[in-house]
Symmetry: C2
Subunit: 267 residues, 2 copies
Amino acid sequence: MTVKQLGLPELVDACAELGVRNVGTWREPVQAYGVDKAAALLRDAGLTVTTHCRGGFLTALDPAERTAALDDNKRAVDEAVTLGTDVLVLVSGGLPAGSYDLAGARERIADGIAVLAPYAAERGVRLAIEPLHPMYAADRCVVSTLAQALDIAERFPADQVGVCVDTYHIWWDDQAPAQLARAGAQGRIATFQLADWTTPLPEGVLNGRGQLGDGAIDLRYWRGLVEQQGYTGPIEVELFNDGLWARDGREVLAETVERFTRHAVRQ
Amino acid sequence: MTVKQLGLPELVDACAELGVRNVGTWREPVQAYGVDKAAALLRDAGLTVTTHCRGGFLTALDPAERTAALDDNKRAVDEAVTLGTDVLVLVSGGLPAGSYDLAGARERIADGIAVLAPYAAERGVRLAIEPLHPMYAADRCVVSTLAQALDIAERFPADQVGVCVDTYHIWWDDQAPAQLARAGAQGRIATFQLADWTTPLPEGVLNGRGQLGDGAIDLRYWRGLVEQQGYTGPIEVELFNDGLWARDGREVLAETVERFTRHAVRQ
């Protein structure tokens, strides 16, 4: 998504050029290209898919909507299998219209995961609950902290359900270091994502994630904390940013590689 | 600020018309009108000033900036005295440019309050630390949760430093009910403010606070929690909202009174 202006074949070329060997996929562009075709393209280029984003949206009250969401999540698991990744990231969903019940919505997420986790595990895919910044609590994700994500994840075996740690969502939280230790002790850090926090936030607050090094987040500090917990997996850079999307995608990818090296690699 | 389109004399008239007997003041319009003149106007109309907003912005690293901030806060205390209110709300300040150090910024806030709290107490004014929503952590307020606000407030006598509880900033936080109990047990709830959470958030995320009843927050629930903790003070409605400001101020005030009755009064 950082370079969503690139089609998948262009992305593959740009990755080859820059020595990028791993890529996180997003459902919509993969579906648009064709899941099997995308999987073959990435595999033939020697690219490893780190995670597939995103399942989730499990908070509906309406039974038909809940069934549709579960079916869609099973498709997302199947896509992950085809792409050869073992992690499906979940963005859990916001409050249904007219509801005030954050705790109830979180319970419905747990109920949904109870159905999905065994389905995914049978196929070698682990679910990663992603806490989103509290500014998304109403309309996108009622799971706002690592603590809440772990409260749900802990109901399931660690090899079936982990958490997705994204600096953009947790950087403000003074409880996050302790929760990373909790996640690490249980082996639940399923993936680690970087984005920086820049202001002012844009309307809708979705597409203003900062390029690494442009914002308020000490990326190297958070990487250190995550790796102290034994995490040795890939580090994803996930920037939803209208400004970056308006630029040449190869240039943005090259800049991102350079920023990663400058701001997130131990010195 | 809910009806900042009204000048102070118009506000006084509108309050009289609607039976509103209490008003929270904001520094800029009071200063523009003249502090003594504003105090006389409100007093003569029989209006009680609930709180004065806002001091704070105590996170600067530069010594000259820090001194200027402390001086400005003392002026804010003096204004509160003139207006006849005993609460000055503090918006603590964001990260200085280029700093990643949220914890250090919070320590500087505590250092500033150590200077200001006795100054205010001598004048009968209590400081109210307001946690702001985590989306403001970088550029406006590094105090993002009630827990953090209380961690600072607890270093001072409860009659000198309390907290400002605003539904807009804490509604997402599953730790907030326990922290309200902590605040209540210490007698530190200095004021209670209502605003609703509506989406999409506007650019800059400052002026999108929802009219009561329009959003995701169970206002009656939060009022109940605050009052369970023994709070019997005024309830302020603080809506920063470009849409409301573009309308007729008397109409907005009347609507706000009606919404308060409908959504925040026990039934």
